[in-house]
């Protein structure tokens, strides 16, 4: 179902067992959850080291990083746009934090603040061009991705910043109760996301704008502001993802973000974010991030040729889209 945030099944009245199946089929998250479970079982059986706590710790850290990257894409997809400069903004944030902490020797929290400001600013620039000059988000962010990428390599000359304070890398490397901090952060973020889209005016206005921008405007929503906000948030999430990447790697690598395009679209779309806008699912995003992280990790565990990883990802996306369209058909035919 479009335009709804689906974390609980409270909308579906479940009567009897056959209705449970129907209700589950209605939920867009079902296919991704089932697929992720299947993958998990396959990898667990196929590889003895997959279930080791070290490996799972790693998978969960990657999951969190992917989720933040995907969130940067999902927040603009939901308003009917896209952000091709997501990776470039991430790279820019990484370099900003690197310069602040390594070159200028500023405390780690200053690095975080500066990186987020830069991310927000970059998103704001995208947004202003889209809203003020009524340009297509594809074109604007394609152009800006080159601008930002140029800045990344111009400033860093391609060298990583290694002088990252210990306090900063703790976030990406340690955990609580055996679960990485990164994963906890993801859970909290997803909960906030769910809450915002269900219980706040701004969240509902974002969904309405994505559902039908003209009708939303004619219902008294300042849609220009919503689009601008979406783009700023996209930049902020890219910056956050970049920062988390640094904290995990222990150094600020300018190439960070160069592979985010496929990850961001894959996780967002598999997670039930409608490409046409108007729908986003917190639980779907989290599960899809886990799924892609599993594929990444599991293929290595199973000894598959990692050079083919992108092909596997492509096949998975294709299958996910197919499953979704099949589910929609089943759903609508039952409804008649």
């Amino acid at each position: 179902m479009k335009n709804s945030i689906e974390l609980t099944a409270e909308n579906q009245e479940v009567k009897g067992k056959s209705n449970v199946v129907v209700a589950l089929l209605k939920r867009s998250d079902t296919s991704v959850i089932v697929a992720t479970l299947v993958l998990f079982i396959v990898f667990a059986i196929g590889s003895s080291s997959f279930l080791s706590s070290y490996n799972l710790f790693n998978v969960f850290r990657t999951t969190s990083l992917y989720m933040f990257v995907a969130l940067g894409q999902a927040i603009v997809l939901v308003i009917g746009g896209m952000n091709l400069s997501l990776g470039a903004i991430g790279g820019l944030a990484v370099v900003t934090a690197g310069v602040a902490m390594d070159t200028w020797g500023l405390p780690w929290w200053m690095g975080i603040i500066l990186a987020i400001i830069v991310g927000a600013l970059a998103g704001f620039i995208n947004g202003i061009f889209i809203v003020r000059f009524k340009l297509n988000s594809f074109v604007v962010t394609l152009a800006s991705s080159f601008i930002f990428t140029g800045l990344v390599f111009g400033i860093s000359k391609g060298y990583p910043y290694t002088g990252i304070p210990k306090g900063f890398t703790l976030m990406g490397r340690d955990g609580f109760l055996g679960i990485p901090y990164l994963f906890w952060l993801m859970i909290v973020t997803l909960f906030v996301l769910w809450y915002v889209f269900k219980y706040t005016v701004i969240g509902r206005q974002i969904l309405a704008t994505g559902g039908n921008i003209v009708a939303a405007r004619y219902s008294g929503i300042k849609t220009d502001r919503i689009i601008l906000l979406g783009n700023v948030l996209s930049g902020v999430f890219a910056a956050v993802a970049g920062l988390l990447w640094i904290s995990r790697m222990g150094s600020a690598t300018p190439a960070t973000g160069s592979d985010w395009m496929i990850i961001s679209f894959a996780v967002a779309v598999i997670g039930g974010t409608a490409l046409s806008g108007g729908a986003i699912s917190a639980i779907g995003l989290g599960t899809a991030a886990l799924m892609i992280a599993l594929i990444n990790n599991g293929l290595i565990m199973l000894g598959a040729n990692v050079y083919f990883e992108q092909s596997f990802l492509g096949v998975i996306i294709m299958l996910a889209v197919l499953a979704e369209s099949f589910r929609m058909k089943l759903h609508s035919s039952r409804k008649r």
Partner: protein
């Protein structure tokens, strides 16, 4: 001759057509009428091969035929002019007309554009469109595109021509031109099937009228001696009359909306009018006469160059619909409900709640009170008798009439006291139309709302409006301001308005 015998069509859970038999003769304009959901569009789709009947047969000139596809029907010289205009915007007019027959104008795969453009020019002349065949179609008005579609139908030498709401986007003048064309085709012995909601039109040009109701065939009548009331009676199973709703208690001491010397370069110059409390003011005019355009300036979605708008006596500068709603409590129901009015994929609850979200947040936590949203939606569903199983129903699945009620409900929920309602009954069937009229009337009479009704449906304005501004070419061509006191017949009002527009 096109003969339908005992056609039935079943969709999962619905019998869309039940044993329908109609014969369409050449040289006759045959009107096909029915309320929304009566089965007209299903029947049309069967005739032009988009659906296949589950029971029954189709005979074309005595021979039984079964069209497996639209193309199949076209090859039997059946053509359709559809209300949803299907053109390829980047192509020229000529390309759009000949797109399905381009192979016939090609030698060894090379298309003879010169010949195609020449032929296209010929058909454009026939439909009275004075444009170069090489014009890109995207920039044309909706009416012009519709005429191109008609040219396309002509170019396929149709022996059976279906006209499905062909005048929906045409001005009166263009519609008249179309009718002349239809008359010519009638003389050439084409089978003409004319589908329209506008009963006046049907009575004016059809020789016979067939009516469908709830998927069943009601009957076919010859036009002579047939009145509008007869047709409506057939369509809804009872008689309706021009309704007289009474007199409004307008508070002439209270101007809720004043428009002073409003001008917009190239369009409006010095528009002046007032709206009083408890009044229903009608804006009459054809599509493109400036009525909707003026409304969009008032709600702040278009800019004026000079002049002043005052709401409740204070100068108002609405910059957007958001301003109109939150600062001036002014609501706007668009004529274009599906694009500008509703979030079709959303629930009734969300579509009504969208205007009150800012009111139902907790002052500190900023958390939306979803219970308030639901109860407000339920209150509206009950008050406006919106037919739903619950407020969680998806708006896109409701009938036109119920969608329109939702469009009005959202402004009532927000407590708007000035409403601009553009084409209140567009795409709404006869029964629901009557209900919506009563609703608008009660809002003014009982709730003392001040309402502007924009309509090109004159009987509708005669029923509702107690003062009418006549728009023509972006100016107010006349005002009927003496009609609140007693009943005025449709004939009288249409005569007076006709004088202003001449």
């Amino acid at each position: 001759m096109l003969e339908l015998r005992g056609i039935s069509k079943i969709f999962p859970g619905v019998k869309a057509l039940d044993n329908v038999s109609i014969t369409f003769h050449p040289g006759e304009v045959h009107g096909l009428l029915g309320e929304n959901g009566a089965g007209k569009s299903t029947l049309i789709k069967i005739i032009c091969g988009m659906y296949q009947p589950d029971e029954g047969e189709v005979f074309l000139n005595g021979k039984q035929v079964r069209f497996e596809s639209f193309r199949d029907a076209m090859e039997h010289e059946i053509s359709i002019v559809n209300q949803e205009i299907q053109v390829i915007p980047q192509y020229t007019i000529a390309e759009n007309i000949f797109i399905d027959k381009i192979g016939k104008y090609a030698k060894a795969g090379i298309v003879n554009w010169k010949l195609i453009n020449e032929m296209a020019g010929k058909y454009l002349k026939m439909v009275g469109l004075e444009l170069e065949p090489t014009t890109i179609i995207g920039g044309l008005s909706a009416a012009q595109k519709q005429l191109v579609q008609i040219a396309k139908a002509l170019s396929s030498n149709a022996k059976v021509l279906l006209l499905d709401e062909p005048t929906s986007s045409l001005t009166k003048h263009e519609a008249e031109y179309l009718f002349e064309l239809v008359a010519k085709l009638r003389e050439q012995g084409v089978v003409l099937i004319f589908v329209s909601h506008k009963l006046e039109e049907v009575l004016a040009i059809c020789d016979k009228v067939s009516v469908l109701r709830d998927g069943s065939y009601v009957g076919t009548k010859v036009r002579e001696n047939l009145t509008k009331q007869d047709i409506v009676k057939m369509m809804i199973g009872r008689e309706t009359q021009d309704r007289y709703l009474g007199k409004l208690d307008i508070n002439y001491d209270c101007k809720v909306l004043e428009v002073k010397d409003l001008s917009q370069a190239g369009r409006f110059s010095n528009i002046n009018f007032d709206l009083y409390e408890g009044e229903i003011l009608g804006f009459y005019g054809l599509v493109g006469s400036g009525r909707t355009e003026l409304a969009k300036i008032i709600i702040g979605e278009d800019k004026k160059d000079s002049g002043e708008i005052r709401i409740h006596g204070k100068k108002a500068v609405p910059e957007s619909m958001a301003d109109s709603l939150y600062k001036y409590r002014l609501g706007y129901v668009s004529e274009n409900r599906k694009e500008e009015g509703l979030l079709l994929d959303e629930s009734v609850k969300t579509n009504i709640g969208i205007t009150i979200w800012k009111k139902i947040v907790h002052p500190l936590t900023r958390k939306l009170n979803l219970t308030s949203e639901k109860s407000e939606a339920n209150r509206m569903v009950e008050a406006l008798k919106i037919k739903v199983t619950s407020a969680d129903d998806i708006v896109g699945k409701l009938s036109g009439g119920n969608q329109q009620k939702v469009s009005i409900a959202k402004w009532l929920a927000a407590g708007c006291d000035i409403l601009i309602i553009d084409e209140p009954s567009v795409g709404v069937d006869v029964g629901a139309k009557e209900y919506i009229h009563q609703l608008i009337w009660d809002l003014a009479k009982v709730e003392k709302k001040s309402i502007i009704v924009i309509s090109s449906d004159l009987p509708e304005l005669c029923t509702l409006a107690r003062r009418i501004l006549v728009f023509s070419d972006y100016r107010i061509a006349g005002e009927l301001n003496d009609i609140n006191d007693k009943y005025h017949t449709y004939d009288e009002l249409s005569g007076r308005i006709g004088q202003y527009m001449a």
